[in-house]
Symmetry: C2
Subunit: 226 residues, 2 copies
């Protein structure tokens, strides 16, 4: 059974954030705290699934055995992350993976049935969970988009700076003669991503771009992108 | 009303992927196809919310008016993306944003009530949706982790290559004297991310690292990370 302090900290996870105090206590009352040694198995692939888990400390590895008998690591879970909750929601009765502690670890084990009963008897809760996850999913997708863009922008500006260096210190405006497609392929980014980046830099007055000619107008400001 | 062809294509989105043929047809039967001109508003902030939407073509901007009357763009949605579904799930009755077409766009409008009725009367569907979203959410988080790592690895290897270039062409093993914390801060990456990257490069035999001394063992192979 979890302490009041622990159940309060569970609220930070999306699975628990929408539960009432009562519901959370019910789940916490059935929860177990498990200590695992490095290398110890929590559950084995294809065994019956009755719990879902949250890593409290340490690191848990999820893996599968390939038909050839080799282990394939599916993922490594860090504190705060839950696992086997999709197994619970989808009401698959067996774990599709093996869970092993990578290092000495503590995990919380929650009874799937208790959680499912709560969600099943509370349609509004199920909808609120869907809403919360829809928002989280969208915000993650935008984070991915931004990271991709940031990474790509870094590459583009790096390329510009290298060309500037070649031209020497006194130059403060430089014309590059390179086709956008060629530049994209050289920097391993998608042509449409490159177009968006060049568009942004153009809107900010940092470059001018016409055909295959790119003019660097403000190297000082461009450097800020590195 | 949507064509059979369109409803089939809806299945690709997580909101529809778990629906039965019948359920999907019910939703499609109540759906509308809306054509918007560039700059045209789809709905205004604080008006009553009865629909959720999917962008079919074009681009939709979601924005809010700040207290000072300035517009703040919340996000730009591209084909395939849905919006206002969290408003539906959370049963908020008003749109918290204004939706405007950035360019000539086509959107599908779905009646929230029809979708909610289906989910409310089908608990298993609600749970399956939760399971599906839980998996998607986790896979997005891992994608973010990988992108962050890829971006950071690129920066680290770039730095190594620059130092190699300074040392001249004949050098094929180079010792760098830089504290890891300093390197991390110079490359704007988290110290723990740098540690993981150096660990990976070390495991692959590409570098040796001891204290503040990093030895580049295999510049050729390191270059592959760029």
């Amino acid at each position: 059974m979890l302490h009041a302090l622990t159940t309060a900290s569970l609220r930070r996870h999306y699975l628990f954030s929408k539960l009432s105090e009562d519901e959370l206590n019910r789940i916490g009352g059935h929860a177990q705290i498990l200590d695992l040694q490095a290398g110890e198995q929590l559950f084995m692939q294809d065994t019956e699934a009755h719990h879902f888990y949250q890593v409290h400390a340490g690191q848990i590895k999820l893996s599968r055995l390939n038909p050839d008998g080799n282990e394939k690591v599916i993922e490594i879970l860090n504190p705060g992350e839950t696992f086997a909750e999709a197994v619970m929601f989808m009401q698959i009765n067996r774990y599709p993976v093996t869970a092993t502690a990578v290092q000495p670890s503590t995990v919380y084990a929650f009874k799937s049935q208790v959680f499912l009963d709560i969600v099943r008897n509370n349609n509004d809760l199920c909808l609120r969970l869907l809403g919360d996850m829809a928002m989280r999913l969208r915000s993650r997708m935008h984070e991915i988009e931004q990271l991709t863009m940031k990474n790509a922008t870094y590459r583009v500006v790096r390329y510009f700076m290298q060309e500037l260096e070649k031209a020497g210190d006194e130059v403060d405006e430089l014309e590059l003669n390179i086709q956008k497609q060629l530049l994209a392929s050289r920097l391993s980014i998608k042509p449409e991503t490159l177009s968006r980046i060049l568009g942004t830099l153009r809107d900010q007055g940092l470059i001018r771009s016409q055909g295959k000619k790119i003019t660097l107008l403000d190297p000082e400001a461009l450097r800020a992108y590195e």
